[in-house]
Symmetry: C4
Subunit: 196 residues, 4 copies
């Protein structure tokens, strides 16, 4: 089984999920107060859109880099990849639920934020599982030297730790958890560790 | 007519359908009781999402494997493939209807579950029709040996029998039918019969 | 400019549009009468889904066949193709509006059906424009012999005449117009005129 | 990192965004007055659909032309491209909000139109940033001669000036701003400056 159709299908899912995020951007419409005030009151929806957009974007970029070195696609990889996509596809739902409850406030804002962070943690863990799979004998086109493996784990860790922390912090302060997740996205957009 | 555009179009439809599944994940929102209780009460939506996601995923994986050995694409294949996609595209609707009625309970939960199982049976039959078509003289790149054909039919049968059973069982117990469909998805994720 | 990205983008639009059709399949939900009666009362939505699905499918198949012989992609082709996609993208809206008004009955059922047929006519005309463009000097990889051109026009004509007729017939009987459009889809699924 | 997956992902996002535009086409449905009058009253939705459709189409065509000459894809390009897609993905939301407020009238029609124009300006600026990036040493397959660079900037400028003007004009007359944006789309569909 060749790699190209796995990439095409994954790209399709990433592209649809990232575009569906914007379906959650909505204002109540005419007759519900000034438009700018409506947008201001729904700020969590817009911030959440930005964070989820770049997080999916980062995962797409890393997915691309990882797959490029894969020698052969077996059923284990196909289904681990499906688990990754399972989390990606849930992100628009988790994003809109989180934004809605953050706007409303109250204790469920904490629960919704913890769920949001947990989905990102699940996505990160699935990605790590795919990376771990590629380390097996003869699974990559070019051998991955030891230092590159360590560098890769060092690149994954901040995200996985940040999302886990955010799950806990969410119960204390939803806004602080959102800031942690936003910083993780920023970190990955700008980090320059050499690729494995 | 070459195979690659048939695959690209099918991959697009699979990717959009699998992502649209998550549009059905929704809670009533703030002011309708605690978030976790809302999610608990909508458990059928989340279980149905998982089952439909992996069933579409399995069909995508098998579609990929089948197409890889196809020599030439004719109009019969194109339109049989369209019938397969017709069922795939209906899955998000069948999933959300089933989940909604299972949550509400009552006799229509049975009807909705039978419809859900029937859509999967239709998808399975279309897939079998495509496989049957590939068995014709000179339609595959490599000849498919007799044992491989038998192995392939053995791989298809459990699903087609399970979905048919689920249609009937649905009228007795919707939950039991859902369990059968879920087990079929699990079976296909883990089965290791060599590919035709 | 090469052909492959034009095809990839068009395939994406076809795939999304054909999948969005199913978003229009919806029942009122629990508490609005028996599920089967609800489905029965919404029969236009299901019939419309089938007809629109196969019509988009046929156009996709023909688009594929036409593009395969294109030598070079210029801006005229790109923008004529965009006009074709403009009509394809509107089909889910035209389908749901038609189904809704056909269910409700009354004079607007005729108007909605005429609009539905007009969108299909627009799609057919854009497709014919693309075909007409490919007939220019040096635009195809293989020269298209005169008989093949005539055969192609013979293949296009039934649809373009059928959709135009349906626009008119819609004002007399919406159901009759729907039958005409359905027959055109059936005709194209089964017709075997050799490809240009 | 090769170019093809960047193109495939971008094409997917363009295709989904352009198709989601049509989700905003909706009439109130049976029982809300004659269908044609409903469509007439919602004319901004249909005009906005046309303008947004062709603007995304033009950007897709130009994106294609630009990428074709790119030598190697680095992280700067990947993330600048993500910023471009961020604006593309928001267009369906900006389009529907603008159409809704233009239909309702009042002062928020001006605000909504300014936001709509600002999204297009953001898209134009991101595109210019990508073009500017390609001008760096050794980033294109064929060297871009000085005149071609000047021609390219001349091609970009009208759009970027038009969208900026539209942001300002929107506060005086929303309809005039819409006309400017529509003219920019028309200009790009028909302009024939040779490609860089």
């Amino acid at each position: 089984m060749d790699r190209s159709r796995l990439e095409a299908f994954s790209d399709g899912v990433f592209a649809v999920a990232i575009t569906l995020l914007a379906l959650n951007l909505a204002v109540a419409g005419p007759g519900h107060g000034p438009l700018l005030r409506q947008i201001g009151e729904h700020w969590p929806a817009f911030v959440a859109y930005l964070i989820s957009f770049f997080t999916i974007g980062v995962i797409w970029v890393n997915h691309h880099a990882l797959m490029q070195n894969v020698q052969a696609v077996d059923r284990t990889l196909l289904f681990t990849n499906l688990v990754l996509l399972l989390f990606v596809v849930v992100i628009p739902f988790a994003t809109s639920t989180m934004a809605e409850y953050l706007t409303a406030g109250g204790q469920d804002a904490n629960v919704a934020m913890a769920l949001y962070a947990a989905i990102f943690e699940g996505m990160g863990l699935s990605f790590a599982a795919i990376f771990w799979w590629t380390l097996g004998e003869g699974r990559t086109i070019r051998a991955v030297p030891k230092e590159a493996k360590r560098a890769a784990w060092l690149r994954f860790s901040p995200g996985m730790i940040a999302y886990l922390m955010a799950v806990g912090v969410a119960f204390v302060s939803a806004e602080a958890a959102l800031a942690i997740i936003g910083l993780a996205a920023l970190y990955y957009v700008f980090e320059r560790t050499p690729q494995a």
